[in-house]
Symmetry: C2
Subunit: 392 residues, 2 copies
C-alpha cells in the first residue's frame, strides 16, 4: 500500500534518539549520546516522581482528565507560568496540557496551518517545524537567522521575514532560545519582530522549551507578553529539558481561547489527553526549592564553557557560545558534502552520537550537540569529535 | 484566525470524558459517569504501578526510547501477544508502542489514508474512526452492522461492505468486540469479511482493545490471524480497558513492517514516543497471575447480567446483551429527536453521564454506557435512566 502524499518528505531515521547507540568506542572511552540530554547526569527533582507515585496510588481521579488536562493542574500551572511570563493566564481558556511539548507543537500547527499555506520557519531551527509543515501539506518558507558572527546579537533577518510575509506567509514558527544555535533573542529584536507580525496580522508559534535555562544573566523576553502579541501567539513550554522530566511526556501550550479549544479537539483525536498520572508532575513544576534552578543553570553554563574552550582551541570547528538551552551547533567546514559519513564514523568508532545539521535546514557542515551530559564525559567526547574533524 | 478546513466536522464537546460531571443528583444517589470505566471499581493489577515506580527510579535508560518503543518492552509484548493472537510477531518489524491506543489509531489512519480516500466505517462503531477520517480530509462511507435482532449473530452487512468497496473504499476500520454494541464477530463471519477484503485488495484497521474481555465462553477470533490477513491488517490493542491502565497512555499496534515504519515516522512528529517510564507497564501486561483476568471478566459479566435484567424489565428501553467489552448500547425510542435534552437531564438531574448515540453514527435514540463501574452504583444509575426514559 503506497504511502499517502503527506509522507513525501518524511524520514526520521536521523532524528535525535533514533540513531543506534555508539558501537565500538575505544576502550576507556565512555560513549556519549549528544542527541538528547542525559537524565542520569541531571536527574529530575525528586518531588516530581513523588507526585506521580501519589497520583497512581490515588487512582481513579487521576487516571482520566478532560482532554485539555486536569483542572487543578491547569490552575496551578496557569498561576506560576503567568508570573514567569508576565501574562494573565486563565486556566480554563488559555492553557492546554499535552502529551509532551512535541505533541503541543503538532496540535498547535494542526490548529492554525491550512493545507497549501506558506509557513515561515527560521533556519536553522528545530527540525520538526519543517517536517510537520510538510506533513500538513503546507509549504515551509525559510527565514534567515544571523548567528555566525559571535560578537553580534543573534537575530532573525528582518528583510527575510518581511519577504516571507510579502509572499503570503501568515504563520511563523520559531524557538527562543533557538534550537540548535542557543541564540537568545534580545528584547529590542523581539519588539521589532512583534511589530512586523502585527503589521501583517501574522500568527506566531513560539517554542520556549528552554526559557528557564538562560546563561550569563542575560535578559529573557516572553514573546506573548509583548504588546498585542498574546492574541496571536501560541507559546509552547514544558518540563522536559532543564527539569529533565521528558520521560513523563508533558507539555503546556498557552494561547488565545479559540486556538486552545481547537487544539483540545485535535488532542481528542490524537492522544485523548496527556498521561493522567504524569500530569501530577506539573503540580511540582515552577515550584522547585530555592536555588535548585540556579544550580542547574550554573552547572550547564560550566559545561558550555569547557566545551567552548575545546572548540575555540581548534581551527577545524567553530560554534557560537550558547546563550540559553543545552545546544551547541558546531560547524565543521571539512565535512561539507560528507556529513553523513562523518556522523556515522563518529558514532561507530568514537561512541559519540550527534544530530546532523541537515535536520535543521540546509546546514551540510554542522552537527548539533545536547550538552546536558556528564561534564567529564562530554568534554572527552567533544575532544574525539574535534580530533576526527581535524583528521577529516 | 479561521480554522483550517480539516476542522469542518469536528466537535468534541459530547465525547466521552468531556461532559461536565453530574450536577445535582438527588440525595442518596451516587453519581455514575458511564462515559468511561471507573478505575476505582476495577483497579489495575499492582504489578503495573510497581513496574513504573521501578522505571522512574532507574531513570535515564527508561526516560527515552526509540520512537517505536523500548526494545525490551517490544520483545516481551511481541512474544505474549503473538501467543494470544496466534501470529509470529517480530518486535523490530511488526510492533509499535504508542501514547495510548487512541494515538495508535491516529497514527494508523494517518499512515494508510490519503486525502480524498473513501474509508469504510461500520455503523455504529467508535466515534473517532469517523472524526479522524474527516480530519484527514477523507470520506467516511457507512457499512451497516446488524445487531438489533438479539437471537441472531451480530454481523457486518456483506452487501453494504461490497457496495462500499465497489464505490472505491480501500480501507475499512472496525472494532471487535464492537464499540458500542458489544457484538463479538463469529469466526465464520470474519472469514467471509477477510475473503471479501482480499478480493478487493482492501486494508483493515481492526481495533481489538477489548479482545481479552469476552463473555459466556464465546470464541474470539483475531482478524490478523486469518489466512493472508496479516499483510493487510493493522491490529490495535492495549492495556487501557480490561486492565484499567488507561492513565498510563499506552497502546500497541501490530502490522506489516512498511506501515509500522510509517507509523513510527508520524509518531516522531506527533508525540515522539509513548511515555518512557509508563512503557514499563507493558512488561507486566498479558502476564497477570493465573485467575486474575478470569475473575475480572466474570465480574463484568455479572454486571452485564444485572443491567440487562433492568433493561429487559422495561419496555421503554432495549439493548443487545454485551458479548464482549464493557459497553451497552441502549435504544430509547421515546427520545429520538430529543436526545441531547435527555442526556443533559440525565446528567444534571440524575447524576448519570452517558455518551449520546449520535457520536457513533446516525443513532438519535441511543446512548452508550461503559459498565466497568461499581456494580451496585451502576444498577441504581441505570434504574434512574430507565425511570426517566419511561416518563419521557
Amino acid at each position: 500500500m503506497a504511502a499517502p502524499a503527506r509522507f513525501r518528505h518524511l524520514d526520521s531515521s536521523h532524528a535525535p534518539g533514533q540513531q543506534r547507540a555508539g558501537a565500538r568506542a575505544r576502550a576507556g572511552d565512555r560513549p556519549v549520546d549528544f542527541s538528547h540530554g542525559d537524565v542520569g547526569a541531571f536527574p529530575p527533582h525528586p518531588a516530581a516522581a513523588e507526585a506521580v507515585h501519589d497520583a497512581i496510588a490515588v487512582g481513579a481521579t487521576w487516571a482520566y482528565s478532560p482532554y485539555r488536562g486536569h483542572r487543578e493542574v491547569r490552575s496551578r500551572v496557569a498561576d506560576r507560568l503567568g508570573e514567569l511570563m508576565g501574562l494573565a493566564i486563565d486556566p480554563d481558556r488559555h492553557l492546554l496540557v499535552s502529551a509532551g511539548t512535541q505533541a503541543g507543537l503538532y496540535l498547535a500547527m494542526s490548529s492554525v496551518i491550512e493545507r497549501g499555506d506558506r509557513v515561515g520557519i527560521v533556519a536553522p531551527d528545530y527540525f520538526a517545524y519543517r517536517k510537520i509543515t510538510e506533513f500538513l501539506e503546507a509549504q515551509p518558507v525559510d527565514v534567515t537567522l544571523h548567528y555566525r558572527e559571535h560578537g553580534r546579537a543573534g537575530e532573525i533577518d528582518l528583510e527575510s521575514l518581511t519577504s516571507a510575509l510579502d509572499s503570503g506567509v501568515r504563520t511563523i514558527v520559531f524557538s527562543n532560545p533557538n534550537n540548535p544555535t542557543g541564540v537568545v533573542y534580545e528584547p529590542s529584536h523581539l519588539l521589532r519582530i512583534n511589530a512586523t507580525l502585527a503589521e501583517y496580522g501574522a500568527f506566531a508559534i513560539v517554542d520556549q522549551l528552554y526559557a528557564r535555562q538562560i546563561f550569563d544573566g542575560r535578559a529573557y523576553t516572553h514573546f506573548a507578553g509583548l504588546d498585542g502579541a498574546a492574541d496571536r501567539t501560541l507559546t509552547l513550554i514544558g518540563p522536559s529539558k532543564t527539569e529533565s522530566l521528558s520521560g513523563f511526556r508533558l507539555g503546556v501550550t498557552i494561547g488565545p481561547e479559540p486556538i486552545i479549544s481547537r487544539m483540545e479537539t485535535v488532542q481528542g483525536l490524537v492522544t485523548l489527553r496527556a498521561p493522567g498520572y504524569s500530569q501530577a508532575v506539573l503540580t511540582t513544576w515552577l515550584a522547585e526549592p530555592p536555588g535548585w534552578l540556579d544550580d542547574r543553570v550554573a552547572a550547564h553554563q560550566r559545561i558550555r564553557d569547557e566545551l567552548m574552550a575545546v572548540i575555540q582551541a581548534s581551527d577545524a570547528v567553530m560554534a557560537r557560545p550558547t546563550e540559553g538551552g543545552s545546544y551547541l551547533f558546531i560547524h565543521i567546514p571539512a565535512v561539507a558534502g560528507d556529513l553523513d559519513a562523518f556522523v556515522e564514523s563518529l558514532r561507530v568508532e568514537d561512541g559519540v552520537t550527534v544530530t546532523r545539521g541537515t535536520e535543521f535546514g540546509s546546514f551540510p557542515d554542522a552537527v548539533r550537540l545536547n550538552f546536558s551530559q556528564d561534564r567529564t564525559a562530554a568534554v572527552a567526547a567533544l575532544r574525539r569529535l574535534v580530533d576526527r574533524a581535524q583528521r577529516w
